[in-house]
């Protein structure tokens, strides 16, 4: 499912003294099957943007094309349910949406709302638990008896169970421990590879964006200011610093080396592995001299 935004604007509480323009001049194309990271400061409009992906918010100007759906500003769209099945959104702190008595029931809630039978949903709970890395024992426990990280996983499993084509994630790893983060990010990357899901990830971690995304969107004060592949985005370190954003540690390290030795690496080092490779070539060159 391709996603196309054309000249989208969103104002909250339009025509009141509280009116607030949260998005403007948004033009985006997200190809089916790609992995896009959205980066920006708190308040730059990332969450507002995401909520346009399944019609929870509708633009106050412009159009949003979501597969076969076209949402035009000013026209109230109904019958969005089929769209919401195709676009799963994991909100910030999704554990706040849990409500059932057991983990099993909570995970089955989404798929059953979209028409899956209870038997089928229950039969597949094991599969979804395994997907998010939870043991089978939690199935009949109350979600509220779990740890924070486990609750987060249950909530994410509840969205994955809807088997969406597009998975939208709003800071899914905020507040998790480093290992939990890595596991979760690897899982999303697998979903993209194996199930051909389109993934849109909002994150504050430049490392995550650099490592996993095919494409990065940078938002600043309600609009998109940069768009490109991680290599393109992180080649311009000063630009990022100018926008007040963090730069991945690896890129900073690369820059320090480059300045110290007066050399230039051909590619930005986005991961530890990239750094390793670059240093290796550097050392072999030094040895030859």
């Amino acid at each position: 499912m391709d996603i196309v935004f054309r000249d989208v604007e969103h104002r909250y509480q339009i025509n009141t003294p509280f009116e607030k323009r949260a998005l403007y001049d948004i033009h985006v194309d997200i190809r089916s099957g790609s992995y896009v990271a959205v980066i920006g400061h708190t308040g730059s409009g990332k969450s507002t943007l995401l909520q346009h992906f399944n019609g929870l918010l509708q633009p106050t100007k412009g159009t949003v094309h979501l597969g076969d759906y076209t949402i035009v500003a000013g026209k109230k769209e109904k019958h969005l349910k089929p769209l919401r099945k195709k676009v799963g959104i994991v909100f910030q702190f999704p554990e706040h949406q849990l409500f059932e008595e057991t983990v099993e029931k909570d995970i089955c809630f989404g798929p059953m709302n979209f028409g899956m039978s209870e038997q089928e949903a229950k039969a597949r709970v094991g599969e979804w638990l395994a997907l998010v890395g939870l043991p089978e024992e939690v199935r009949h426990k109350s979600p509220f008896a779990l740890s924070g990280g486990q609750m987060r996983r249950v909530a994410i499993a509840g969205v994955l169970a809807m088997e969406p084509e597009v998975l939208v994630l709003d800071e899914p790893t905020a507040g998790l421990d480093p290992r939990g983060r890595k596991e979760m990010m690897d899982m999303f990357a697998n979903l993209q590879r194996q199930k051909k899901m389109t993934i849109v990830l909002v994150t504050h971690s430049m490392e995550e964006a650099a490592r996993y995304a095919d494409d990065i969107i940078i938002m600043h004060r309600g609009t998109i200011v940069r768009r490109g592949t991680p290599e393109q985005i992180f080649r311009n370190v000063d630009d990022l610093i100018h926008l007040g954003l963090d730069v991945p540690e690896t890129v900073l390290f690369q820059r320090a080396i480059e300045q110290k030795f007066g050399i230039q690496f051909p590619e930005p080092c986005l991961t530890i592995e990239d750094v390793e490779r670059s240093l290796q070539t550097l050392f072999t060159r030094v040895k030859r001299i």
Binding site: Q13, H96, Q97, M162
Partner: protein, 264 residues
């Protein structure tokens, strides 16, 4: 959710915004009584004029007020029709399908709806121009004589300010949870009763859990900072009663006298 304006503060620097909160509370209190003095065209006219003046002085956009009143509008319309249909005084204006409508009934219906509308406008105006903190400070100050009879005025005021403070938070929370559940295929606005009940559980359970959690966190935060009621507490924000407050109260007194004299 966004239509609700009662309880929302609109920042501003108008004459009404600058009045002492005690003045505004007293105004509201007195207004509730003087509204009942009005009983004819003249008195209702004066009262309406006064209310419009308040609205004008507050610089709250008229359209904003109207939109905020929409949720209560049907109550007002209902009141009007109830009076029109049930009051049987004066002359019959018209008859239709055995329903007789009297002229006094229309007049009374109109007056009572207007009274209701004016009351709501004034109360809304108070909350739109006064921060919740000011309201509670004002309340505490006005009620402080009751401390002599061991009424826990400070604690009551604190309870009130906490509730007022958390209304927007709860609304926000409600909206967030509704969005999250909508994304999971819940339909809050239509569907059979059983599904609606399920939808309400999916909203209310998370909402209650977060409210309890918040309450507990707040209690702990207050305790670690050594909060223990009103004993020996001083205030950071002191209320100051200015000359315009006295003038305004005198003006309301005059208004009450005028209404008293003009009522029939």
């Amino acid at each position: 959710m966004n239509g609700m304006i009662i309880g929302k503060y609109v920042p501003g620097d108008s004459f009404i915004h600058r009045l002492d909160p005690r003045t505004k509370l007293l105004l509201m209190f007195i207004y509730v009584f003087i509204v009942f003095l009005a009983n004819n065209g003249w008195t209702y006219g004066i009262l309406t004029l006064f209310t419009c003046l308040l609205l004008f002085l507050s610089r709250i956009p008229f359209s904003f007020m109207i939109r905020g009143l929409k949720p209560v509008l049907w109550v007002i319309v209902f009141t009007f029709f109830l009076h029109v249909l049930l009051t049987k005084e004066g002359h019959i204006v018209f008859q239709w399908l055995g329903i007789e409508v009297y002229d006094k009934a229309i007049q009374q219906g109109a007056f009572i709806s207007l009274r209701f509308l004016l009351l709501i406008v004034v109360t809304t105006l108070l909350t739109l121009t006064t921060t919740p903190i000011e309201v509670t400070d004002g309340m505490e100050s006005l009620l402080s004589p009751l401390k002599k009879w061991n009424v826990p005025v400070h604690e009551l005021a604190l309870m009130m300010s906490i509730s007022l403070r958390f209304i927007p938070t709860l609304m926000e929370e409600t909206e967030k949870i509704m969005k999250a559940q909508t994304a999971r295929g819940v339909d809050f606005s239509s569907g059979p009763l059983q599904e609606r009940m399920k939808a309400m559980t999916a909203l209310l359970v998370p909402l209650f859990i977060s409210a309890f959690k918040r309450a507990e966190e707040l209690a702990v935060a207050m305790e670690v900072r050594g909060y223990r009621g009103s004993q020996n507490r001083t205030k950071w924000r002191e209320l100051t009663w200015g000359r315009i407050d006295t003038a305004f109260m005198l003006f309301i007194g005059l208004l009450a006298i005028a209404l008293w004299l003009l009522r029939s």
